[in-house]
Amino acid sequence: MTKSNSAVMGWRGRVFAAGGLFFVAVFVTFIVSLIAADIFYIDKEAVTEVLTSPFIRHALWMSLWTSVLTTLLSLLFAIPMGYALSRYDFPGKVLVDAIVDLPIVFPPLVAGLTLLVFFSQTSPGRWIEDSLGWEFVFQPKGIVLCQFLVSASFAIRSARTAFDEVDRRYENVAMTLGCSHWGSFRRVSLPLAKNGIIAGGILTWARALGLFGPLLIFVGSFRGRTEVLSTTIFLETSVGNLEVALAVALLLVFVAIIALIMIRVIGHGRGVKL
């Protein structure tokens, strides 16, 4: 698809094009000025405080390992699920498809509440917590569960789209060339879908890292225990430490921008895609 509109244009065409670009300019100015405000407002002391505070260092560490674990777990589900949803027809598939999409449109806060209700109020949930001894509520493990529930769907949808874009013919040919189903998956479909799956993983990671609302409800905001970076921002803001909160926020923004660039590079400039 050619992008450059190169038709011969009268002045009315130019005005029309300018109108579209005007909105682009307004929106971009809006975003850029907000980021600029953040950057101007930040001060060195707060950054130093952030970097030296043991609580915040702990929160950073918590944020990192939970989000990475969530991403790996999501990919573990996303790859087989994406492939199965892309390739197989089974009864009730439309419903399954919708259920996979649900967490994307779901209010994240409700996801946290739902987990809380499940583990604290229902018998299977209590059985898992008490008899199996897998405690999630107000525990670091709960962070991963919460992040997984909210963000795994992004990985699954990306993987599904990536596999959809690999034409069945490739697998068919691989099969006539001596591959089993598994072989054609491993040697053809997976390598061809790889970039889309990785981009989905990065999106999942960015969401997991920035999650806040449901964590507040499901695991609480206990300093040094279930505190991740987003919790830190909330805690510092609520006691009026805007400078410190902002310093932490910029860390997250930085990570988000890195994630964005990686998605673009991997997707050959295609940007976020579900």
Binding site: D167, T176, L177, G178, V188
Partner: protein, 355 residues
């Protein structure tokens, strides 16, 4: 030898209906049909990529109906080649060999050998993205051939190529076939392409085989109107056998005109549908005497057009006719639009459809 026996398959509204087809060992066979006639689905059933709903597939008399595609020993080149974009040309060609337990050296030797045969040795290190259509086609062919399949299935192998490359690749396919003697089924919707590679062909339409036979037979003795039209015959007539002449030759009446038909075209009162190839229509000067006066009519040139290899003349007298003539013959006639000419349809060139 590959054989389909009462093969059926259904998807959506479309059905392949009990196809019976046998392609002899070492034969180059063309499967013709308009788009949507089920040619690709039929190939996929043969190589096991679609599970036939009923019927069987045999290779060399071995029933392979329930065998997985990877065990069938069929080389398959799909329509858009489906080259693996994440691998180089060399890795594409070696792909099949790597699924077997074959040593590195042996793989390299076979890849080079196949690439040499197809003239793509210089491409081995390249990626897929930059290849031209013809190079892609050769790579896909090499990938299928390295495994030394018993049968080769080609789905519209030259459809995506421009005319010049198309001729080149057709010639290559012929050469490879002569060299390896592989049983080959070549799917195509293009008549010219079929003539340039094969001797035997089948015509598929709406999931049903219309006719199987030598190309010349399909051309001159089509079994039904669809085949006749697919082979680009425009002179098709409907009539009824009204009488037999002195020699017992049947005569059909079309729009009030009597036409002599070849022997054994049917009995009195039979409805018949018959055709004559445009190149078999004899166009003569109006005043030319003719010893054999059967089927000699007068006609007028409605339109003529130089088609390169021949002149196409549309005639309209008692009925519409299209004739193909050589340039020499046409020049000799000194005809132009509206010229009055004689037309002779020699009974032995007339073919009754389905007879």
């Amino acid at each position: 030898m590959i054989r389909a026996k009462k093969l059926s398959y259904g998807v959506g509204d479309f059905r392949l209906r009990q196809l019976d087809l046998e392609v002899a060992a070492g034969q180059y066979f063309v499967l013709l049909g308009p788009p949507g006639s089920g040619k690709t689905i039929f190939l996929e059933c043969l190589c096991g990529l679609k599970r036939a709903s009923s019927g069987q597939v045999f290779i060399d008399d071995r029933d392979i109906t329930t065998l997985e595609p990877r065990l069938r020993g069929i080389g398959y080149v799909p329509q858009d080649y489906a080259l693996f974009g994440h691998l180089s040309v060399r890795e594409n060609i070696a792909f099949g060999l790597r699924t077997r337990s074959i040593g590195q050296k042996e793989v390299a030797r076979k890849v080079t050998e196949t690439a040499d045969m197809l003239g793509i040795r210089h491409l081995l290190k390249r990626g897929i993205a930059g290849l031209s259509g013809g190079e892609k086609q050769r790579t896909a062919l090499a990938r299928a051939l390295t495994l030394e399949p018993k049968v080769l299935l080609l789905d519209e192998p030259v459809c995506a190529l421009d005319e010049c490359t198309r001729q080149e690749v057709c010639a290559l396919l012929c050469r490879v076939h002569e060299q390896l003697g592989l049983t080959t089924i070549h799917v195509s919707h293009n008549l010219q392409e079929a003539f340039s590679v094969a001797d035997r062909a089948a015509i598929l339409d709406g999931g049903t085989l219309q006719q199987v036979g030598a190309l010349g037979e399909l051309l001159r003795r089509p079994g039904n109107e669809f085949v006749a039209r697919f082979m680009r015959c425009e002179n098709i007539f409907f009539g009824e056998i009204a009488r037999k002449d002195a020699d017992g030759m049947p005569e059909a009446v079309v729009d009030g005109i009597s036409l002599c038909l070849p022997d054994s075209s049917g009995d009195l009162g039979d409805k018949v549908e018959f055709m004559i190839r445009p190149e078999d229509v004899l166009v003569v000067p109006l005043d030319r005497p003719n010893g054999d006066q059967r089927n000699h009519f007068s006609s007028r040139v409605e339109h003529w057009r130089d088609c390169g290899d021949y002149i196409r003349v549309e005639l309209n007298g008692q009925f519409k006719l299209v004739a193909h003539m050589t340039h020499a013959a046409f020049t000799e006639l000194k005809a132009d639009n509206s010229s009055e000419l004689g037309v002779i349809l020699r009974p032995e060139k007339v073919h009754v459809l389905g007879a």
